[in-house]
């Protein structure tokens, strides 16, 4: 037996052990499917409300996972969230549903393609529209960047908002500029998915650069109202400085621009279900590897 034979035998032996371990893993994991089996803070649990399968939302009790296992109401670092609703889009239909059942803290939202927003009032090319578009982009690109930095390249973030040129026929976010309430800069009505900005009672700064002293920043308010449209209520975290989350309920002070924080993006991770591989998919892959290894060994 020369060195090559020893190497080959060792390799086959290692493969056989892997196959046996995989088979053992299948048995073990089928016995304990409720336990998290992947690294990180994903979790699995059976859920009887709307959920997803193979990247498409379906109904039924399907084993699934969230990227972020922390309930939205949990005080978690930068932000503590209060989720009201979440978007579902399976590529053809769009709904804005309530958080349901025992998983109320998780929105079970999933955006396979995109959710549309539409400017109800004609302000085309206007600085207000530009800042609203910028705010939507800030949410989407910020969440994606945060997600990418989490080193989870094996999963896809189902979270996207796109402007519609004409009034959509499907459920969409309506953007208006007609609010009149001298102590409210903007509001979101979850009943009809409408954002309304108050242009009458405030003198807005609509620039892309940071506001100067005494200027009321429109972009900060746009980011906040879109946060409601994403599905968040107000930040419930006590003892926080205004500006620590975009979902603080008080409007920005003059001269301040409020950022969407990583804590807010963590909220997106928790609110929107991520299509990470289901345990059955992972285990299926291991079984295939095991079968191939055994066949090669016998050959």
């Amino acid at each position: 037996m020369d060195l090559e034979d020893i190497t080959v035998q060792f390799t086959f032996s290692a493969v056989r052990q892997t196959a046996l371990l995989a088979a053992f893993g299948v048995i073990l994991c089928h016995q304990a499917v409720a336990l998290p089996i992947l690294a990180g803070n994903e979790h699995t649990h059976n859920n009887t409300v709307t959920t997803w399968s193979s990247g498409v939302k379906t109904n039924g009790a399907i084993l699934h996972q969230h990227w972020n296992a922390l309930p939205l109401s949990t005080n978690n670092g930068e932000a503590s969230w209060n989720a009201n609703k979440a978007w579902d889009n399976n590529g053809t239909t769009t709904t804005f549903h309530s958080s349901l059942g025992g998983d109320a803290d998780f929105g079970h939202g999933f955006i396979a393609n995109r959710v549309l927003y539409y400017f109800d009032t004609a302000y085309t090319g206007n600085a207000y529209e530009l800042r609203v578009e910028q705010a939507f982009t800030d949410w989407v690109t910020g969440a994606r960047t945060y997600y990418t930095n989490s080193a989870r390249t094996d999963v896809v973030l189902g979270f996207n908002f796109t402007r519609a040129a004409a009034r959509p026929t499907e459920t969409y976010i309506n953007v208006k500029f007609n609010l009149t309430d001298d102590n409210t800069t903007g509001e979101f009505d979850s009943g009809n998915q409408t954002i309304s900005f108050n242009l009458e009672d405030f003198t807005w700064y609509t620039g892309a650069a940071a506001p100067g002293a005494g200027q009321q920043d429109f972009l900060s308010t746009a980011r906040h109202e879109i946060g409601h449209a994403v599905g968040f209520g107000h930040n419930k975290n006590a003892a926080k400085v205004v500006g620590s989350s975009i979902m603080w309920s008080s409007a920005a002070a003059q001269g301040d621009r409020i950022a969407i924080t990583n804590g807010d993006f963590e909220g997106v991770m928790a609110l929107y279900t991520q299509p990470v591989p289901e345990p059955s998919t992972v285990l299926g892959g291991l079984v295939v590897v095991g079968i191939v290894a055994i066949r090669r060994r016998r050959r």
Partner: protein, 105 residues
């Protein structure tokens, strides 16, 4: 009237001491009193304010002079509203007890 004098005196003493004199419970009381006095003219939906479900958070707030002040942010929610924001919020200066309506979004 007497009560107003009392609060004014209280505010002056608190300001002179230079310390947080207004605790969370007291801040909610001051905010509720201020809101009851003023909320009649504060716009839509305010008749449904839930004074017994107030939430108070510590925060810092930059006033009109650009000075950061320690405040209590007291929010009185509104019944059965699908609209955010709902209810009424009052900023209570943690040193002076001065109440101001907060602009919500």
């Amino acid at each position: 009237m007497k009560r107003r004098w009392f609060f004014s005196l209280f505010a002056v003493v608190a300001a002179m001491s230079g310390q947080d004199r207004i605790g969370k419970h007291r801040a909610v009381e001051l905010a509720a009193e201020w809101a009851r006095r003023n909320h009649g003219g504060l716009g839509r939906g305010k008749s449904a304010l839930q004074f017994d479900k107030a939430e108070a958070n510590e925060a810092s707030w930059k006033n009109d002079h650009g000075e950061s002040r320690p405040v209590w942010f007291v929010h009185f929610p509104e019944r059965q509203s699908k609209v955010e924001p709902s209810g009424l919020a009052v900023r209570v200066d943690r040193e002076t007890g001065k109440c101001e309506r907060a602009v919500l979004e």
